[in-house]
Protein backbone atom coordinates (compact mmCIF):
# COMPACT_ATOMS: atom_id res chain seq x y z
CA UNK A 1 0.00 0.00 0.00
CA UNK A 2 1.35 3.33 -0.99
CA UNK A 3 1.82 6.05 1.54
CA UNK A 4 -0.44 9.00 1.98
CA UNK A 5 1.73 11.77 0.73
CA UNK A 6 4.38 12.60 -1.76
CA UNK A 7 7.99 12.32 -0.69
CA UNK A 8 10.37 15.03 -1.64
CA UNK A 9 14.12 14.87 -1.42
CA UNK A 10 16.15 17.98 -1.91
CA UNK A 11 19.74 17.46 -2.86
CA UNK A 12 21.08 18.77 -6.17
CA UNK A 13 17.55 19.49 -7.25
CA UNK A 14 14.28 18.75 -5.57
CA UNK A 15 12.70 15.47 -6.57
CA UNK A 16 9.16 14.50 -5.69
CA UNK A 17 8.25 10.88 -5.69
CA UNK A 18 4.66 10.18 -6.53
CA UNK A 19 2.44 7.97 -4.35
CA UNK A 20 1.73 5.85 -7.40
CA UNK A 21 5.32 4.69 -7.32
CA UNK A 22 5.50 4.24 -3.57
CA UNK A 23 6.67 4.38 -0.98
CA UNK A 24 5.59 1.22 0.73
CA UNK A 25 6.33 0.03 4.22
CA UNK A 26 7.35 3.49 5.35
CA UNK A 27 8.74 3.10 8.85
CA UNK A 28 10.54 5.56 11.06
CA UNK A 29 12.12 4.04 14.13
CA UNK A 30 14.08 5.09 17.17
CA UNK A 31 17.23 3.14 17.89
CA UNK A 32 18.78 3.90 21.27
CA UNK A 33 22.50 3.55 21.82
CA UNK A 34 22.29 2.41 25.39
CA UNK A 35 24.63 0.31 27.50
CA UNK A 36 23.01 -1.68 30.28
CA UNK A 37 24.90 -2.98 33.28
CA UNK A 38 23.25 -5.50 35.52
CA UNK A 39 24.52 -5.60 39.09
CA UNK A 40 24.76 -8.82 41.03
CA UNK A 41 21.62 -7.80 42.88
CA UNK A 42 19.74 -7.30 39.65
CA UNK A 43 19.77 -3.52 39.63
CA UNK A 44 20.25 -2.15 36.16
CA UNK A 45 22.34 0.86 35.29
CA UNK A 46 21.55 2.31 31.90
CA UNK A 47 24.17 4.51 30.29
CA UNK A 48 22.52 6.27 27.40
CA UNK A 49 24.35 7.92 24.52
CA UNK A 50 21.66 8.99 22.10
CA UNK A 51 18.68 7.85 20.09
CA UNK A 52 19.22 7.48 16.38
CA UNK A 53 16.20 8.01 14.15
CA UNK A 54 16.18 5.80 11.10
CA UNK A 55 13.72 5.84 8.24
CA UNK A 56 13.12 2.87 5.97
CA UNK A 57 10.79 2.47 3.02
CA UNK A 58 10.48 0.65 -0.26
CA UNK A 59 9.91 2.19 -3.66
CA UNK A 60 8.29 -0.75 -5.47
CA UNK A 61 7.77 0.59 -8.96
CA UNK A 62 10.61 2.64 -10.29
CA UNK A 63 10.31 2.78 -14.02
CA UNK A 64 13.19 3.08 -16.37
CA UNK A 65 13.28 6.64 -17.62
CA UNK A 66 13.00 9.83 -15.64
CA UNK A 67 11.95 8.11 -12.43
CA UNK A 68 14.88 5.72 -12.47
CA UNK A 69 17.26 8.53 -13.43
CA UNK A 70 16.06 10.64 -10.50
CA UNK A 71 16.83 7.86 -8.04
CA UNK A 72 20.13 7.12 -9.69
CA UNK A 73 21.12 10.75 -9.44
CA UNK A 74 19.95 10.99 -5.85
CA UNK A 75 22.03 8.00 -4.79
CA UNK A 76 25.03 9.30 -6.68
CA UNK A 77 24.78 12.52 -4.68
CA UNK A 78 23.98 10.94 -1.31
CA UNK A 79 26.23 7.89 -1.26
CA UNK A 80 29.39 9.88 -0.42
CA UNK A 81 27.72 10.78 2.87
CA UNK A 82 26.45 14.31 2.41
CA UNK A 83 23.16 15.33 3.92
CA UNK A 84 19.97 16.16 2.07
CA UNK A 85 16.61 17.55 3.07
CA UNK A 86 13.77 15.10 3.28
CA UNK A 87 10.08 15.95 3.18
CA UNK A 88 7.96 12.98 4.22
CA UNK A 89 4.75 14.54 2.94
CA UNK A 90 4.66 17.50 0.57
CA UNK A 91 1.07 18.30 1.53
CA UNK A 92 1.96 18.93 5.16
CA UNK A 93 2.97 22.39 6.26
CA UNK A 94 4.19 23.57 9.62
CA UNK A 95 3.57 27.08 10.89
CA UNK A 96 6.51 27.25 13.26
CA UNK A 97 9.93 28.47 12.23
CA UNK A 98 12.05 27.50 10.45
CA UNK A 99 9.34 26.00 8.24
CA UNK A 100 7.13 29.07 8.67
CA UNK A 101 4.13 27.71 6.86
CA UNK A 102 6.12 25.80 4.31
CA UNK A 103 6.61 22.09 3.85
CA UNK A 104 7.88 20.11 6.81
CA UNK A 105 11.38 18.88 6.13
CA UNK A 106 14.52 17.87 7.98
CA UNK A 107 18.02 16.72 7.17
CA UNK A 108 18.98 13.12 6.58
CA UNK A 109 21.94 11.14 5.40
CA UNK A 110 21.82 7.94 3.45
CA UNK A 111 22.30 4.87 5.63
CA UNK A 112 22.64 2.61 2.59
CA UNK A 113 26.09 2.14 1.15
CA UNK A 114 24.99 1.12 -2.33
CA UNK A 115 22.38 1.75 -5.04
CA UNK A 116 20.88 -1.72 -5.46
CA UNK A 117 17.56 -1.74 -7.34
CA UNK A 118 15.84 -5.12 -7.79
CA UNK A 119 13.98 -6.09 -10.94
CA UNK A 120 10.26 -6.54 -10.43
CA UNK A 121 8.97 -6.43 -14.02
CA UNK A 122 10.08 -5.46 -17.47
CA UNK A 123 11.63 -2.00 -17.04
CA UNK A 124 10.41 -1.74 -13.46
CA UNK A 125 12.60 -1.94 -10.38
CA UNK A 126 12.13 -1.76 -6.64
CA UNK A 127 14.47 -0.06 -4.22
CA UNK A 128 14.77 -0.36 -0.47
CA UNK A 129 15.92 2.87 1.10
CA UNK A 130 17.23 3.64 4.54
CA UNK A 131 17.91 7.15 5.85
CA UNK A 132 19.39 8.41 9.09
CA UNK A 133 18.07 11.66 10.50
CA UNK A 134 20.77 14.27 11.12
CA UNK A 135 20.50 15.40 14.77
CA UNK A 136 20.58 19.13 14.03
CA UNK A 137 18.17 21.95 14.81
CA UNK A 138 15.65 20.70 12.24
CA UNK A 139 15.57 17.15 13.56
CA UNK A 140 12.32 15.80 14.97
CA UNK A 141 12.39 14.75 18.61
CA UNK A 142 11.46 11.19 17.80
CA UNK A 143 10.48 8.85 15.01
CA UNK A 144 6.81 9.16 15.84
CA UNK A 145 6.80 12.71 14.55
CA UNK A 146 8.02 11.49 11.21
CA UNK A 147 5.32 8.85 11.05
CA UNK A 148 2.71 11.48 11.87
CA UNK A 149 4.07 13.76 9.18
CA UNK A 150 4.08 10.96 6.66
CA UNK A 151 0.38 10.38 7.28
CA UNK A 152 -0.41 14.07 7.06
CA UNK A 153 -0.71 14.77 10.77
CA UNK A 154 0.99 17.67 12.45
CA UNK A 155 4.23 16.36 13.91
CA UNK A 156 3.99 16.84 17.65
Amino acid sequence: MAGFGTLRINFVGAISFQPAHGPQNFIAEDSARRHDNIATSGLRESVFEATDILIAFTMPGIRIGTDYANWKNFYAAALPGGSFLFTPNTQLTVAAAPWSGQEYFFACVLEDTGFRPKRTALGVYSLECKFRVVPDALAPANSGMIMEAFWGLAPL
Binding site: A39, V47, E49
Partner: protein
Protein backbone atom coordinates in the same frame (compact mmCIF):
# COMPACT_ATOMS: atom_id res chain seq x y z
CA UNK B 1 38.22 9.99 44.63
CA UNK B 2 38.09 12.83 42.22
CA UNK B 3 36.51 16.04 43.35
CA UNK B 4 32.95 16.43 42.14
CA UNK B 5 30.17 18.90 42.80
CA UNK B 6 26.85 18.14 44.43
CA UNK B 7 25.20 18.87 41.09
CA UNK B 8 27.31 16.22 39.44
CA UNK B 9 26.80 13.73 42.25
CA UNK B 10 23.04 14.06 42.14
CA UNK B 11 22.93 13.21 38.45
CA UNK B 12 25.67 10.59 38.67
CA UNK B 13 23.73 8.61 41.25
CA UNK B 14 20.79 8.03 38.90
CA UNK B 15 20.64 4.54 37.47
CA UNK B 16 19.55 5.80 34.05
CA UNK B 17 21.45 8.75 32.70
CA UNK B 18 23.26 10.23 29.75
CA UNK B 19 26.91 11.11 30.33
CA UNK B 20 28.19 13.95 28.21
CA UNK B 21 31.90 13.95 27.47
CA UNK B 22 33.84 17.04 26.53
CA UNK B 23 37.34 17.03 25.09
CA UNK B 24 39.32 20.25 25.28
CA UNK B 25 42.69 20.95 23.70
CA UNK B 26 44.89 23.50 25.40
CA UNK B 27 45.03 26.77 23.49
CA UNK B 28 41.96 26.00 21.39
CA UNK B 29 38.78 27.94 22.05
CA UNK B 30 36.53 25.27 20.61
CA UNK B 31 35.96 22.08 22.56
CA UNK B 32 34.49 18.84 21.26
CA UNK B 33 31.56 17.17 22.96
CA UNK B 34 29.56 14.01 22.52
CA UNK B 35 26.31 15.92 22.74
CA UNK B 36 24.84 19.30 22.01
CA UNK B 37 25.40 21.00 25.35
CA UNK B 38 22.68 23.61 24.98
CA UNK B 39 20.17 21.09 23.71
CA UNK B 40 20.94 18.81 26.66
CA UNK B 41 20.14 21.61 29.07
CA UNK B 42 23.66 22.29 30.25
CA UNK B 43 23.55 25.71 31.84
CA UNK B 44 26.02 28.47 32.56
CA UNK B 45 28.65 29.90 30.31
CA UNK B 46 29.33 27.33 27.66
CA UNK B 47 32.52 27.22 25.62
CA UNK B 48 32.38 27.20 21.87
CA UNK B 49 31.79 23.56 21.02
CA UNK B 50 31.23 21.11 18.23
CA UNK B 51 29.41 17.84 18.76
CA UNK B 52 31.97 15.76 16.93
CA UNK B 53 33.48 13.74 19.79
CA UNK B 54 32.92 10.00 19.95
CA UNK B 55 32.60 8.54 23.44
CA UNK B 56 36.20 7.73 24.40
CA UNK B 57 37.32 4.43 25.81
CA UNK B 58 39.10 6.07 28.72
CA UNK B 59 42.60 5.88 30.14
CA UNK B 60 43.84 3.06 32.34
CA UNK B 61 46.14 3.64 35.28
CA UNK B 62 47.60 0.75 37.22
CA UNK B 63 50.25 0.58 39.87
CA UNK B 64 52.70 -1.97 41.19
CA UNK B 65 52.67 -1.33 44.90
CA UNK B 66 55.60 -3.61 45.67
CA UNK B 67 57.75 -2.30 42.84
CA UNK B 68 56.87 1.35 43.33
CA UNK B 69 55.91 1.89 39.71
CA UNK B 70 52.88 3.14 37.83
CA UNK B 71 51.87 2.63 34.24
CA UNK B 72 51.80 5.71 32.05
CA UNK B 73 48.18 6.48 31.34
CA UNK B 74 47.24 6.84 27.71
CA UNK B 75 44.05 8.33 26.35
CA UNK B 76 42.62 8.45 22.86
CA UNK B 77 39.87 10.84 21.87
CA UNK B 78 38.31 10.48 18.43
CA UNK B 79 36.83 13.57 16.84
CA UNK B 80 34.79 13.25 13.65
CA UNK B 81 36.23 15.39 10.89
CA UNK B 82 32.99 17.10 10.02
CA UNK B 83 33.37 19.05 6.83
CA UNK B 84 37.15 18.82 7.04
CA UNK B 85 37.28 21.27 9.94
CA UNK B 86 39.51 19.07 12.11
CA UNK B 87 41.80 18.40 9.17
CA UNK B 88 42.18 22.14 8.73
CA UNK B 89 42.95 22.58 12.41
CA UNK B 90 45.48 19.77 12.50
CA UNK B 91 47.12 21.15 9.39
CA UNK B 92 47.40 24.68 10.63
CA UNK B 93 48.27 24.41 14.33
CA UNK B 94 50.82 22.30 16.16
CA UNK B 95 48.66 20.53 18.69
CA UNK B 96 51.17 17.99 19.95
CA UNK B 97 52.42 19.09 23.33
CA UNK B 98 49.17 20.81 24.21
CA UNK B 99 47.08 19.66 27.13
CA UNK B 100 44.23 17.25 26.49
CA UNK B 101 41.41 17.48 29.00
CA UNK B 102 38.48 15.11 29.24
CA UNK B 103 35.44 16.11 31.24
CA UNK B 104 32.16 14.41 31.97
CA UNK B 105 28.85 15.87 32.99
CA UNK B 106 25.14 15.31 32.72
CA UNK B 107 22.15 16.97 31.10
CA UNK B 108 20.53 19.63 33.20
CA UNK B 109 23.63 20.50 35.18
CA UNK B 110 25.76 23.60 35.05
CA UNK B 111 28.85 23.39 32.89
CA UNK B 112 30.86 24.10 36.01
CA UNK B 113 29.50 20.83 37.45
CA UNK B 114 31.36 18.86 34.81
CA UNK B 115 34.04 16.72 36.44
CA UNK B 116 37.55 16.56 35.07
CA UNK B 117 38.50 12.98 34.31
CA UNK B 118 41.96 13.41 32.85
CA UNK B 119 44.43 16.14 31.99
CA UNK B 120 47.04 14.62 29.74
CA UNK B 121 49.52 15.86 27.16
CA UNK B 122 48.90 15.35 23.45
CA UNK B 123 51.70 13.46 21.78
CA UNK B 124 50.16 12.24 18.55
CA UNK B 125 47.36 13.46 16.30
CA UNK B 126 46.58 11.20 13.35
CA UNK B 127 43.66 10.57 11.02
CA UNK B 128 41.69 7.38 11.57
CA UNK B 129 41.99 4.58 9.06
CA UNK B 130 39.08 5.88 7.01
CA UNK B 131 40.21 9.52 7.37
CA UNK B 132 36.71 10.31 8.58
CA UNK B 133 37.93 11.32 12.03
CA UNK B 134 41.06 12.28 13.90
CA UNK B 135 42.58 10.43 16.82
CA UNK B 136 44.03 12.62 19.55
CA UNK B 137 46.39 10.50 21.63
CA UNK B 138 47.73 11.78 24.88
CA UNK B 139 49.71 10.52 27.86
CA UNK B 140 49.77 11.47 31.48
CA UNK B 141 52.35 13.69 33.17
CA UNK B 142 54.71 10.77 33.60
CA UNK B 143 55.67 11.28 29.97
CA UNK B 144 57.39 14.43 31.23
CA UNK B 145 58.80 12.69 34.28
CA UNK B 146 60.42 10.18 31.93
CA UNK B 147 62.76 12.86 30.64
CA UNK B 148 66.46 12.85 31.30
CA UNK B 149 67.98 15.46 33.56
CA UNK B 150 71.19 16.63 31.95
CA UNK B 151 72.05 19.75 33.86
CA UNK B 152 72.51 20.68 37.46
CA UNK B 153 69.41 22.82 37.99
CA UNK B 154 71.22 24.89 40.59
CA UNK B 155 73.63 26.38 38.08
CA UNK B 156 72.44 25.21 34.68
CA UNK B 157 75.69 23.49 33.78
CA UNK B 158 75.88 19.83 32.76
CA UNK B 159 76.05 17.28 35.51
CA UNK B 160 79.64 16.18 35.96
CA UNK B 161 81.98 14.81 38.58
CA UNK B 162 82.95 18.35 39.50
CA UNK B 163 79.38 19.64 39.23
CA UNK B 164 77.14 17.13 40.98
CA UNK B 165 73.58 17.91 41.95
CA UNK B 166 73.30 17.08 45.61
CA UNK B 167 69.76 16.17 46.58
CA UNK B 168 68.87 15.55 50.18
CA UNK B 169 65.68 15.23 52.15
CA UNK B 170 62.59 13.17 52.70
CA UNK B 171 61.25 11.11 49.82
CA UNK B 172 58.59 13.73 49.12
CA UNK B 173 61.11 16.58 49.19
CA UNK B 174 63.24 14.75 46.67
CA UNK B 175 60.22 14.10 44.45
CA UNK B 176 59.49 17.81 44.43
CA UNK B 177 63.13 18.67 43.78
CA UNK B 178 63.24 16.32 40.80
CA UNK B 179 59.94 17.55 39.37
CA UNK B 180 60.19 21.26 40.04
CA UNK B 181 63.92 21.82 39.76
CA UNK B 182 65.30 18.97 37.73
CA UNK B 183 62.46 18.74 35.23
CA UNK B 184 61.29 22.34 35.62
CA UNK B 185 57.71 21.17 35.67
CA UNK B 186 55.04 23.75 36.28
CA UNK B 187 54.16 23.80 39.98
CA UNK B 188 50.52 23.21 39.10
CA UNK B 189 51.53 19.82 37.69
CA UNK B 190 52.77 18.53 41.03
CA UNK B 191 50.47 17.60 43.90
CA UNK B 192 52.52 19.59 46.39
CA UNK B 193 49.77 19.55 49.00
CA UNK B 194 49.63 15.76 48.96
CA UNK B 195 53.40 15.47 49.16
CA UNK B 196 53.62 17.90 52.03
CA UNK B 197 50.86 16.02 53.83
CA UNK B 198 52.89 12.80 53.65
CA UNK B 199 55.75 14.64 55.31
CA UNK B 200 53.58 16.10 58.04
CA UNK B 201 54.30 15.39 61.66
CA UNK B 202 50.80 14.00 62.06
CA UNK B 203 51.57 11.27 59.57
CA UNK B 204 54.83 10.42 61.35
CA UNK B 205 55.79 8.51 58.23
CA UNK B 206 58.55 10.26 56.33
CA UNK B 207 58.80 13.64 58.00
CA UNK B 208 61.08 12.29 60.69
CA UNK B 209 63.29 10.46 58.21
CA UNK B 210 65.69 12.24 55.93
CA UNK B 211 67.90 9.29 55.06
CA UNK B 212 68.62 10.23 51.43
CA UNK B 213 71.56 12.15 50.08
CA UNK B 214 72.20 11.76 46.38
CA UNK B 215 75.17 13.10 44.47
CA UNK B 216 74.11 13.01 40.85
CA UNK B 217 77.10 13.70 38.65
CA UNK B 218 75.85 12.25 35.39
CA UNK B 219 72.60 12.54 33.43
CA UNK B 220 69.78 10.36 34.68
CA UNK B 221 66.22 9.61 33.69
CA UNK B 222 63.90 11.10 36.28
CA UNK B 223 61.20 8.41 36.24
CA UNK B 224 63.67 5.58 36.65
CA UNK B 225 65.44 7.51 39.38
CA UNK B 226 62.27 8.17 41.32
CA UNK B 227 60.94 4.64 41.01
CA UNK B 228 64.15 2.73 41.69
CA UNK B 229 65.93 5.07 44.07
CA UNK B 230 63.03 6.54 46.01
CA UNK B 231 59.71 4.76 45.69
CA UNK B 232 61.00 1.22 45.86
CA UNK B 233 63.06 2.03 48.92
CA UNK B 234 60.38 4.12 50.61
CA UNK B 235 57.38 1.88 49.94
CA UNK B 236 55.74 4.49 47.74
CA UNK B 237 54.17 4.50 44.32
CA UNK B 238 53.34 7.33 41.93
CA UNK B 239 49.80 8.31 41.02
CA UNK B 240 48.61 10.85 38.48
CA UNK B 241 45.43 12.43 39.72
CA UNK B 242 42.52 13.50 37.56
CA UNK B 243 43.86 17.03 37.25
CA UNK B 244 47.00 15.64 35.70
CA UNK B 245 49.11 16.30 38.77
CA UNK B 246 51.97 14.02 39.71
CA UNK B 247 51.53 12.62 43.18
CA UNK B 248 52.57 9.68 45.34
CA UNK B 249 50.96 7.33 47.80
CA UNK B 250 52.66 5.65 50.72
CA UNK B 251 52.78 2.02 51.72
CA UNK B 252 50.78 2.80 54.78
CA UNK B 253 47.28 4.18 55.12
CA UNK B 254 46.99 7.71 56.53
CA UNK B 255 47.82 7.94 60.23
CA UNK B 256 44.19 8.46 61.09
CA UNK B 257 43.38 5.16 59.45
CA UNK B 258 42.24 4.19 56.03
CA UNK B 259 39.05 6.03 55.23
CA UNK B 260 36.96 4.43 52.52
CA UNK B 261 35.75 6.89 49.91
CA UNK B 262 33.37 4.52 48.19
CA UNK B 263 31.44 1.37 48.94
CA UNK B 264 31.34 -1.34 46.32
CA UNK B 265 28.30 -3.52 46.83
CA UNK B 266 26.21 -6.01 44.96
CA UNK B 267 24.21 -3.01 43.76
CA UNK B 268 27.06 -1.52 41.73
CA UNK B 269 29.27 -4.54 41.00
CA UNK B 270 28.57 -6.29 37.72
CA UNK B 271 28.71 -10.06 38.01
CA UNK B 272 31.10 -11.58 40.50
CA UNK B 273 34.54 -10.22 41.32
CA UNK B 274 37.42 -12.50 40.40
CA UNK B 275 40.14 -13.37 42.92
CA UNK B 276 43.88 -13.45 42.63
CA UNK B 277 46.78 -13.12 45.05
CA UNK B 278 49.70 -10.71 45.07
CA UNK B 279 53.18 -12.16 45.28
CA UNK B 280 54.45 -13.02 48.73
CA UNK B 281 57.16 -10.66 49.90
CA UNK B 282 59.15 -11.88 52.84
CA UNK B 283 62.76 -11.03 52.07
CA UNK B 284 64.29 -7.72 51.17
CA UNK B 285 67.94 -7.26 50.33
CA UNK B 286 69.05 -3.67 50.76
CA UNK B 287 72.20 -2.19 49.30
CA UNK B 288 73.13 1.35 50.29
CA UNK B 289 75.89 3.68 51.39
CA UNK B 290 77.16 4.21 47.84
CA UNK B 291 80.57 5.72 47.23
CA UNK B 292 81.01 8.93 45.26
CA UNK B 293 81.11 7.04 41.97
CA UNK B 294 77.96 5.09 42.90
CA UNK B 295 79.68 1.86 41.98
CA UNK B 296 80.50 0.37 45.34
CA UNK B 297 78.23 0.08 48.31
CA UNK B 298 79.48 -0.09 51.85
CA UNK B 299 76.36 -1.58 53.40
CA UNK B 300 74.14 -4.52 52.70
CA UNK B 301 71.24 -5.58 54.86
CA UNK B 302 68.90 -8.52 54.50
CA UNK B 303 65.54 -8.45 56.18
CA UNK B 304 63.49 -11.59 56.42
CA UNK B 305 60.05 -12.34 57.75
CA UNK B 306 60.73 -15.63 59.43
CA UNK B 307 57.11 -16.47 60.08
CA UNK B 308 56.24 -15.97 56.43
CA UNK B 309 59.23 -17.95 55.22
CA UNK B 310 58.28 -20.73 57.58
CA UNK B 311 54.79 -20.88 56.14
CA UNK B 312 55.31 -20.13 52.47
CA UNK B 313 59.00 -20.56 51.79
CA UNK B 314 61.24 -17.75 50.76
CA UNK B 315 59.88 -15.38 48.15
CA UNK B 316 61.82 -14.09 45.21
CA UNK B 317 64.44 -11.94 46.82
CA UNK B 318 63.56 -8.34 46.19
CA UNK B 319 66.65 -6.22 45.91
CA UNK B 320 66.51 -2.57 46.74
CA UNK B 321 69.52 -0.51 45.85
CA UNK B 322 69.44 3.16 46.58
CA UNK B 323 72.41 5.39 45.93
CA UNK B 324 71.07 7.98 48.32
CA UNK B 325 70.37 5.95 51.44
CA UNK B 326 73.10 6.63 53.97
CA UNK B 327 73.75 5.14 57.35
CA UNK B 328 74.87 8.44 58.80
CA UNK B 329 71.45 9.87 57.93
CA UNK B 330 69.53 7.06 59.56
CA UNK B 331 69.19 4.67 56.64
CA UNK B 332 69.40 1.61 58.86
CA UNK B 333 66.40 2.62 60.91
CA UNK B 334 64.57 3.65 57.77
CA UNK B 335 65.03 0.43 55.82
CA UNK B 336 64.10 -1.59 58.87
CA UNK B 337 60.91 0.40 59.18
CA UNK B 338 60.05 0.09 55.49
CA UNK B 339 60.84 -3.63 55.51
CA UNK B 340 58.45 -4.06 58.40
CA UNK B 341 55.74 -2.14 56.67
CA UNK B 342 56.10 -4.05 53.41
CA UNK B 343 56.17 -7.41 55.19
CA UNK B 344 53.05 -6.45 57.12
CA UNK B 345 51.28 -5.92 53.83
CA UNK B 346 52.73 -8.63 51.64
CA UNK B 347 54.31 -11.38 53.75
CA UNK B 348 50.94 -13.06 54.12
CA UNK B 349 51.12 -13.47 57.86
CA UNK B 350 48.58 -10.89 58.97
CA UNK B 351 45.63 -13.21 58.69
CA UNK B 352 45.66 -13.03 54.91
CA UNK B 353 46.65 -16.69 54.61
CA UNK B 354 48.99 -16.00 51.71
CA UNK B 355 49.65 -13.29 49.21
CA UNK B 356 47.47 -10.23 49.59
CA UNK B 357 44.13 -10.89 47.86
CA UNK B 358 43.52 -9.08 44.62
CA UNK B 359 40.05 -8.54 43.26
CA UNK B 360 39.11 -7.63 39.72
CA UNK B 361 35.78 -5.86 39.85
CA UNK B 362 33.56 -4.82 36.97
CA UNK B 363 31.35 -2.02 38.13
CA UNK B 364 28.74 0.50 37.13
CA UNK B 365 29.84 3.64 35.37
CA UNK B 366 28.58 5.66 38.32
CA UNK B 367 31.71 4.54 40.19
CA UNK B 368 33.89 6.63 37.88
CA UNK B 369 34.96 9.16 40.56
CA UNK B 370 36.90 6.35 42.30
CA UNK B 371 40.62 6.78 41.64
CA UNK B 372 43.82 4.78 41.89
CA UNK B 373 45.18 4.89 45.43
CA UNK B 374 41.73 5.27 47.01
CA UNK B 375 40.57 3.09 49.86
CA UNK B 376 37.19 1.50 49.27
CA UNK B 377 35.05 -1.07 50.96
CA UNK B 378 33.53 -4.15 49.40
CA UNK B 379 30.35 -5.72 50.66
CA UNK B 380 29.03 -8.67 48.75
CA UNK B 381 26.89 -11.55 49.99
CA UNK B 382 28.05 -14.00 47.35
CA UNK B 383 31.80 -13.60 47.67
CA UNK B 384 33.65 -16.26 49.62
CA UNK B 385 35.35 -14.96 52.72
CA UNK B 386 38.85 -16.37 52.43
CA UNK B 387 39.61 -15.65 56.05
CA UNK B 388 36.61 -17.24 57.76
CA UNK B 389 35.41 -19.81 55.29
CA UNK B 390 32.01 -18.18 55.31
CA UNK B 391 30.01 -16.82 52.45
CA UNK B 392 29.88 -13.10 51.96
CA UNK B 393 32.12 -10.24 52.96
CA UNK B 394 31.09 -7.05 54.66
CA UNK B 395 32.89 -3.70 54.55
CA UNK B 396 36.23 -5.29 53.71
CA UNK B 397 38.78 -2.54 53.10
CA UNK B 398 40.67 -2.52 49.82
CA UNK B 399 43.06 -0.21 48.00
CA UNK B 400 42.44 0.61 44.33
CA UNK B 401 45.54 -0.34 42.38
CA UNK B 402 44.12 -0.27 38.86
CA UNK B 403 41.36 1.75 37.26
CA UNK B 404 40.26 0.90 33.73
CA UNK B 405 37.34 2.92 32.46
CA UNK B 406 35.35 1.81 29.46
CA UNK B 407 33.30 4.91 28.84
CA UNK B 408 32.41 3.71 25.35
CA UNK B 409 30.55 0.75 26.80
CA UNK B 410 29.48 2.56 29.93
CA UNK B 411 31.27 0.59 32.61
CA UNK B 412 34.36 0.49 34.79
CA UNK B 413 36.88 -2.11 35.88
CA UNK B 414 39.06 -1.93 38.97
CA UNK B 415 41.69 -4.01 40.64
CA UNK B 416 41.51 -3.97 44.41
CA UNK B 417 44.27 -4.93 46.82
CA UNK B 418 43.53 -6.28 50.28
CA UNK B 419 46.44 -5.87 52.63
CA UNK B 420 44.53 -6.61 55.79
CA UNK B 421 43.66 -3.04 56.67
CA UNK B 422 40.13 -3.93 57.65
CA UNK B 423 39.63 -3.08 61.28
CA UNK B 424 43.19 -1.83 61.63
CA UNK B 425 43.81 0.81 64.25
CA UNK B 426 45.00 4.25 63.35
CA UNK B 427 48.67 4.20 62.49
CA UNK B 428 49.58 6.52 65.33
CA UNK B 429 48.77 3.74 67.73
CA UNK B 430 51.31 1.42 66.18
CA UNK B 431 54.64 0.99 67.81
CA UNK B 432 57.02 1.40 64.93
CA UNK B 433 59.94 0.25 67.02
CA UNK B 434 58.58 -3.28 67.03
CA UNK B 435 59.59 -5.13 63.91
CA UNK B 436 58.34 -8.37 62.48
CA UNK B 437 54.91 -8.14 63.96
CA UNK B 438 51.60 -7.66 62.27
CA UNK B 439 51.12 -4.26 63.79
CA UNK B 440 53.21 -2.22 61.40
CA UNK B 441 51.57 -0.70 58.37
Amino acid sequence: MISTTSGFNAKNAALARTPIYVFAIGGQATVYSTHNLAKMGVTGTLPAYETWLRVPTGATQSIDVQGGTSSIGEMECEVVDYGGAVRSLVGSVTLEGSSATLLVGYPGTAYTDFATLNVYTLYKVIPSQSYSSYLFRSKDIQIDVRQTIWNNPLNGYPLAADNPWIIQGTPCEIVQAICLLGLAMDASKVDSAGLVQLDSAAENLYGCARPYLFQEYQPFQAKDFLENQIYKSAGMYPVVNNLGQYSVRACRAPAAGASAVFAFTQNNIIGLPTFDRANILNDLLWTYDADDQQQNYASTALYLDATSIGEFGISNERQVRSNGLRTELGAQWFIQDISGRMFARFAGTTGLRGGAPLLTVNAFLLTLPVWVGDYVTVTHPLMPNLFTGGLGITNRLFEIISRSPDYANGKMQYQLLDTGLTGASAAAQFNTAVIDTALIY
